[in-house]
Symmetry: C2
């Protein structure tokens, strides 16, 4: 067996495809000498982009020729049945076959979920995977899930998200008892819809979880919880609208600092501060959301990610694979299930 | 009849009660000589805060003594039955009785909704009111509803929100054909949950509406739509998390500009720019969300609003009352219903 860690990449996925994914892959290889990449995509297109890559890097890139691409409009069921020759299918299949330790795609989220479930299967006790990602907070970051994998959730699924999130954070951050919050429209017990109230009862009753109660939208960034659980519809809207607001603020800052000559000068002087802020709040910096709950590491990149952001997603896959997150979650889940309050 | 425009105020509502509401009221009166305020609350407490107010202002303030306060933990049904002697009840009742042209409360949203529905009633064709507020965008602002009045919505309700939002914007902004978007986790037709897809069909089929399709969370701030419709759970979480992010960014900016002496100096120079930005993105600046769909003007302030933000909510009530928004919506609804594509 190779001593390299191997990551599979859906090179055709996302708004920009190989133009973005290939340079990001090349850059990643420059930084990690222990890595090998399995690129799934159109052979001719990928080879032309790889033509001038130095041999030392090129030999760590394997191209798997695929014939089709899952489109953003494909239904998950369609992708499953009719896109078995796609770059996304191949990337996930390489994980299933043990050729790669993780895979990354910037393509259709629903299709990636469906392929992950079908090819890799879910962990014992988990109905459906959830998408988890770190978001910045006042003191550091917290994890939010689900971010869009499940638009209709049951209370039992929200409990499973809580268990997976807790397991992941305790494994990755060496935090034995992550604080679990449930996203709601108020912190009072009577607030929210039936789903949230029922989930609160289940999570509260689970002795393996450090449940701190409801977390309001306004508290997401205030370090109240280490893991915040919500259904995928709400989580997706919240995350994306936050990204939109961050872009709006960045844009307004840029405009404010270019209105006249004096302000331009000021903006020049303030550049390091503004750049620092941009990095702290740039949601793309944390691009790369893990599909938690699968028997394998699958990382979703933003569809609109540029090169550096796609590289961040690749790095997320490297981290998840190095830490073997699925195995750690399984171990934690078993421990939590055996220690359950039921 | 008095020539003054009269606004009723739940002086006891919100996290800070009369300490905040009374100074905000006094300030409002200073700015608007045509205004009269009806303060509902504890007589002794209000009188003590009004003791040193100049007679010229004091004579435009009427105090209505009430015995109780709706708490943030009261269920709406409880408030309806057992808080008929509360400041919130009184404020809404003053609108019902025609004593005031609008009312404002920073108290329990669910209770305010319930009292509004019960005392004022909904407009013809409207099942439940929705909370609407303006949010900043790249070029100006757009309106988002519902922001938390309805945690469980039907597709028909989302259609009603679209109709009300469209009517309000066309009335207030002199925009004959406001662009209506439906908040969803993707712009492709297959995206979203059953509720959203069903609502899309209803809104699309309505010839009185300028429906532009799904709007993603990330597009909320990008001027794609004039009115964005969503259920109250999603809207509340999105709005509040955006407010939380805006606070986080403001806090990080402040810290960045105070790290060392050089940066402090830079921060001092950049103060006007930062202040301008703060005002542009401060969600509190637009504090004051209208409960659209009631037969009367009811404005909800943030519970945690400070004096200037509560004053913004009062101003919102003044605007809605001056424009007689409920009557305009009714007229628009009738026109839209008669021009419906059904």
């Amino acid at each position: 067996m190779s001593e390299y860690l191997s990551i599979a990449v859906d090179a055709m996925g996302g708004d920009f495809g190989p133009r973005i994914t290939v340079p990001a892959c090349i850059n990643l290889l420059k930084h990690h000498s222990f890595l090998q990449l399995q690129l799934a995509g159109d052979l001719a297109e990928l080879e032309s982009l790889l033509a001038h890559v130095p041999q030392s890097l090129r030999q760590r890139i394997h191209v798997h020729h695929t014939l089709s691409v899952v489109s953003m409009h494909d239904k998950p069921s369609h992708a499953l049945r009719h896109r078995r020759d796609s770059s996304m299918f191949k990337a996930v299949e390489l994980v299933q076959q043990g050729v790669a330790a993780a895979c990354v795609s910037a393509g259709n989220t629903g299709a990636l979920m469906a392929l992950g479930c079908s090819l890799l299967g879910t962990l014992p006790g988990i109905d459906r995977p959830a998408i988890i990602s770190a978001i910045p907070t006042q003191k550091g970051h917290c994890f939010l899930l689900d971010l869009g994998a499940n638009v209709n959730c049951t209370a039992e699924q929200l409990l499973q998200f809580a268990l997976m999130g807790s397991a992941m954070v305790s494994a990755v951050e060496d935090n034995p008892s992550p604080r679990i919050g449930l996203l709601n429209i108020g912190i009072e017990e009577i607030k929210g819809n039936d789903l949230v109230r029922q989930a609160a009862r289940l999570i509260q009753a689970h002795s393996g979880l450090n449940y701190i109660g409801y977390v309001e939208g306004g508290e997401v960034f205030s370090d109240r919880a280490d893991v915040i659980v919500c259904d995928g519809f709400t989580g997706n809207i919240a995350l994306k609208s936050n990204e939109g607001l961050a872009r709006l603020i960045a844009e307004k800052l840029r405009k404010s600092f270019t209105r006249n000559l004096y302000r331009r000068l000021l903006g020049l002087l303030a550049q390091p501060v503004l750049k620092e802020l941009q990095q702290q709040i740039d949601p793309g910096r944390r691009n790369g959301a893990s599909l938690l709950g699968l028997q394998g590491v699958v990382v979703k990149s933003h569809g609109g990610a540029g090169q550096s952001h796609f590289e961040a997603a690749l790095n997320q896959a490297v981290t998840d694979a190095c830490l073997n997150i699925p195995a750690r979650i399984t171990a934690q889940l078993q421990q939590q299930l055996s220690g359950s309050g039921d």
